[in-house]
């Protein structure tokens, strides 16, 4: 009885172990045969992790090689929440260093994830402090942070990037593809202590750093332009202001600034209005500056000569049931004087001789009503109506800059036509692109200008505009040491009802220097200045301050010394422009 029951027990035990091993065997087979791929992937991800290799975002340099935008690696903090056991304590300790609420951190720590961002692109001292705490489940990932050494310098032009280094505005956006580069990766072997053995790479793709962009901007000229613009913006309590400094020969933009402005290192602290690049996005009636276009058309078409006399109706001219006035009543003026003294009546009388069709053709030829094609995002084309949509008074308003809408950039380009001898050149910021070894990969193609005026017409216009500065409305733009030319403009702004306002104006001055061989064109626009609002009072002094300093910076010899030969020493070689 005992033996029988003993044998039965053994069999039972044997059966139990047999079943156990059978189950284990089945489970083993299942794992090895059916779940092989899954476990293989898990094991590989632990032993052979793929590490991202971030490409370095290309730098942006000015024409002298000075950095305007750089990138440096920073630590971004994340939590491996699943690995954290003491979530409350870690949240509290991190909150002390990061200056964020412990509740925010606790909420992140409680997520059942292996990767949760906490704060990205930390300052180096903060990340060092957190590393010193040696908290389990708290780790860092390297990212590059975009920084701008000049702060707000050239802010509207450079633009900025988002947290993922995608360009959002300005050059950063326009040339994002060139700047961003291409990320790489490497698959490596990791030991039991999670140390990477770098040379045992299974797969590797080298990151390609972004190209370094060299712009046509000159940091010093940009600074001069911004400083003088800021003074005027503050002095006249203006709503906004714009300045463009351009090389009229090749269309290179040497400086471009707007007010109000913002700090590129903290774009989130600014408003959309602060960040707007008014030079290419804001439209306004150009006012008397536009008389230059009418004058150019008249001279080129042979409608008038400089010395032709025009009766200016003593300041009151009836046209199409409207009365046109001059600021100062004039009797008979020569055509030259009409432009220099900015007579509305004289200009309109000349425009009547030209006719709408021809005038419209020249307005388009000077680049109005279409984008200039500058390498910046968001440019608008302006508004120029075709002659068949002109009203009866259009011939009395468009020639003097009312009823057309232009951008500051278009005005600068139009003045460049006169300054360079008659060719319209495309404004641009890009000079060249360099690879990480400093080799030139791409460079700005030399574009031939589009002929608009005959050279002698441009020369005669330049002389008229020099007269406008020396004897006309632009006396405040007269430079010491150099001859300059230009035209003032004062226009009424449109109010909310679409009527011209009597209290809000745009003051402008667009000019060139030195004459007869202009090196720069400067356009200054001040939006709604108070109490003065005339272009000759508000904008012309900015031109003078900027042009004088820039010409000296460019080592252009002053005219007083023009007759004597200026010998530069070995160490004073002329800076290339």
């Amino acid at each position: 009885m005992f033996q029988k029951s003993h044998g039965g027990g053994l069999r039972l035990l044997f059966s139990f172990f047999f079943l156990l091993y059978a189950l284990l065997g089945v489970r083993l087979l299942e794992r090895q045969l059916f779940q092989y791929g899954k476990f293989r992937r898990v094991a590989d991800s632990q032993h052979f992790p793929t590490l991202a290799l971030f490409a370095h975002r290309g730098e942006i340099l000015d024409r002298q090689g000075k950095p305007l935008a750089l990138a440096y690696p920073t630590d971004s903090l994340y939590l491996a929440s699943r690995e954290i056991s003491n979530k409350e304590e870690i949240s509290y300790r991190l909150s002390q260093t990061l200056n964020v609420s412990p509740q925010f951190l606790l909420e992140r720590a409680r997520r059942d994830k292996s990767f949760v961002w906490v704060k990205r692109k930390l300052p180096p001292e903060v990340s060092e402090e957190i590393k010193g705490l040696k908290l389990k489940g708290v780790d860092f990932r390297k990212e590059t942070k975009r920084v701008y050494p000049g702060g707000s310098l050239a802010s509207h032009l450079l633009g900025y990037v988002n947290i993922d280094n995608s360009g959002l505005e300005g050059v950063e956006r326009y040339y994002h593809r060139w700047l961003q580069g291409e990320d790489g990766f490497r698959q490596v072997l990791r030991d039991a202590r999670r140390r990477v053995l770098p040379s045992l790479e299974l797969k590797y793709r080298k990151p390609v750093d972004g190209l370094t962009l060299v712009l046509t901007i000159d940091e010093a000229i940009q600074h001069i332009a911004e400083r003088e613009l800021e003074k005027s913006y503050q002095k006249w309590s203006a709503k906004g202001a714009t300045i463009i400094v351009m090389d009229p020969v090749n269309g290179e933009i040497l400086a471009l600034a707007n007010r109000p402005t913002f700090d590129l290192n903290a774009p989130g602290a600014s408003t959309a209005s602060d960040r707007r690049n008014r030079a290419i996005t804001d439209l306004f009636d150009p006012g008397s500056v536009f008389k230059v276009i009418t004058a150019a058309c008249a001279l080129q078409e042979g409608v008038v000569k400089e010395g032709d006399k025009i009766f200016c109706e003593n300041g009151m001219y009836h046209i199409s049931n409207h009365v046109l006035h001059d600021v100062h009543p004039y009797g008979t003026l020569t055509f030259r004087e009409v432009i220099q003294k900015s007579s509305n009546i004289g200009t309109v009388k000349v425009a009547q001789k030209i006719g709408p069709e021809r005038l419209h053709k020249y307005i388009l030829a000077f680049g109005f009503g279409q984008k200039t094609g500058i390498d910046l995002p968001g440019e608008i084309s302006g508004m120029v109506r075709p002659p068949n949509k002109w009203s009866g008074t259009s011939i009395a308003t468009i020639p003097i800059g009312q009823g057309v809408s232009v951008t500051a950039m278009q005005l600068a380009c139009a003045m460049a036509v006169i300054a360079n001898g008659g060719n319209w050149v495309r404004p641009h910021l890009f000079k060249e692109a360099l690879n990480s070894d400093g080799g030139v990969v791409k460079s700005s193609p030399a574009e031939p200008g589009r002929p608009v005026l005959q050279q002698e017409v441009a020369e005669r216009l330049r002389e008229i505009l020099v007269g406008a500065v020396e004897e006309g409305t632009g006396k405040n733009a007269k430079l010491s040491g150099y001859r300059s030319g230009g035209k003032t403009g004062t226009s009424q702004k449109l109010d909310a009802n679409g009527h011209y306002s009597n209290s809000e104006h745009m003051a402008s001055f667009v000019g060139f220097a030195p004459s007869p061989n202009p090196r720069i064109v400067v356009a200054v626009i001040v939006d709604d200045p108070h109490p003065a609002y005339y272009g000759g009072v508000v904008a012309a002094p900015v031109f003078k301050e900027v042009a004088e300093r820039v010409l000296r910076y460019l080592e252009v010899p002053p005219e007083e010394e023009g007759n004597t030969q200026i010998v530069l020493g070995q160490d004073q070689k002329k800076r290339p422009l």
């Binding site: 000075k66 690696p73 920084v147 770098p198 600074h223 400083r227």
Partner: protein, 115 residues
Amino acid sequence: MTLPRTLLLIALVTFSVLLYAHEQVSKVVLLYDIQRDQKEKGLLSDTHYLLKYQVSALASPSSLEARLAKTDLHLDLPEDRKVIRLAMEERVPLAKKKVLFDWISATKVAEAGSR
């Protein structure tokens, strides 16, 4: 196969295995060295980029201007309206000067005596 030959073969195999193991261990040690150096290089590179930014920020025109403004003593020539022009002093002959100095000295002596 004789015993010495067998022993020699065993010794050779053992030596080869040891050599192989040594080589593998050295390789791994070298890899750790490379990793350490790469990490150091990365840190130095990070520092280089950071310093480059800091130097650029310090050399930016606005920063330079702000620092110059702090040390600016405003030693400009005064504007005309801020200047009071005094009439040129009339030239006094030496003999008259001596009389004047004598009188001043005498006055001072008298004042000292009266105290």
